[in-house]
Symmetry: C2
DNA sequence: TTGTAAATGTTATATTATTACATAGTGTTA
DNA sequence: TAACACTATGTAATAATATAACATTTACAA
């Protein structure tokens, strides 16, 4: 059974904003957007973001310092994330490909390291931008 | 034939520093270290870093905002990078695994996107930290 | 030798993220 | 319910990361 995370007030405000957004949002753009709801300081945003990332409701796109809502119904894969990023229009999508995630989750090399998490970012041109 | 990149003065200073370092270096720690060599401003560091990344001599570890020298003899894989990161001691290594890079370079999904680049970061505990 | 691209130097500023400290809410359990 | 621990909140200050704008110089091919 999936653990139920009851979001707190700030967490909910910020998750809703990210969830509705068609594109990844940056922390300070989030801050700007929620100031009318009484969230005034960067730290309030970062704390909510940290928590939401931790419980897998959102992911951070590391190369962009931006956040998107998890696209997988059961947001349980914060430990195995893959994204496609269009370098022209900056559209970002979460990749949910069973083969890929299996391959990467099982990846091991000779380093002796035990991998418990990964993040993969693919870059290229999306369909639209390719045909321009 | 691999293109020869003659590094400029600043690029060389900064590459040498990163290349000698056993761990990824952050931009401002680089700045601090090269001030005695006449590099005074962040922008001078960032410009050299940008160029070095572009030509594949170094890579950026996105999740850490830090830079390491390319570990592959022919630094030609700036478009296909994979790293292992120990979450305890922060040791970072570049993974050069032919199967993995082939698998990822050939990856395609139904999105219609043409992937030209990827960056993968694995997290876990290294051998030393595991046994503590 | 001149045109052009790349690199440099410098100042200021924008953007991203954390430290430190005080207070309030939530849920458990004695 | 009282005491406790834990999570979340509020606020101010500041640290860390990165870029804009502008002027000048160097490298090198045409």
């Amino acid at each position: 059974m999936e653990k139920q995370h009851n979001l707190s007030k700030n967490q909910k405000i910020i998750f809703d904003l990210i969830d509705k957004s068609p594109e990844p949002l940056k922390a300070y753009s989030i801050l700007f957007n929620v100031q009318k709801k009484g969230i005034n300081a960067p730290l309030q945003v970062y704390r909510a973001l940290d928590k939401l990332v931790e419980i897998g409701k959102i992911h951070k796109i590391e190369s962009r310092n931006a956040f998107i809502a998890c696209q997988n119904s059961s947001c349980q894969i914060s430990k195995a994330t893959a994204f496609s990023i269009c370098e022209s229009c900056e559209k970002v999508s979460e990749i949910s490909n069973t083969k890929l995630s299996k391959y990467l989750s099982n990846f091991a090399d000779e380093s002796g390291m035990k991998y418990t998490k990964y993040n993969l970012e693919f870059f290229g041109l999306c369909k639209k931008c390719k045909s321009k």
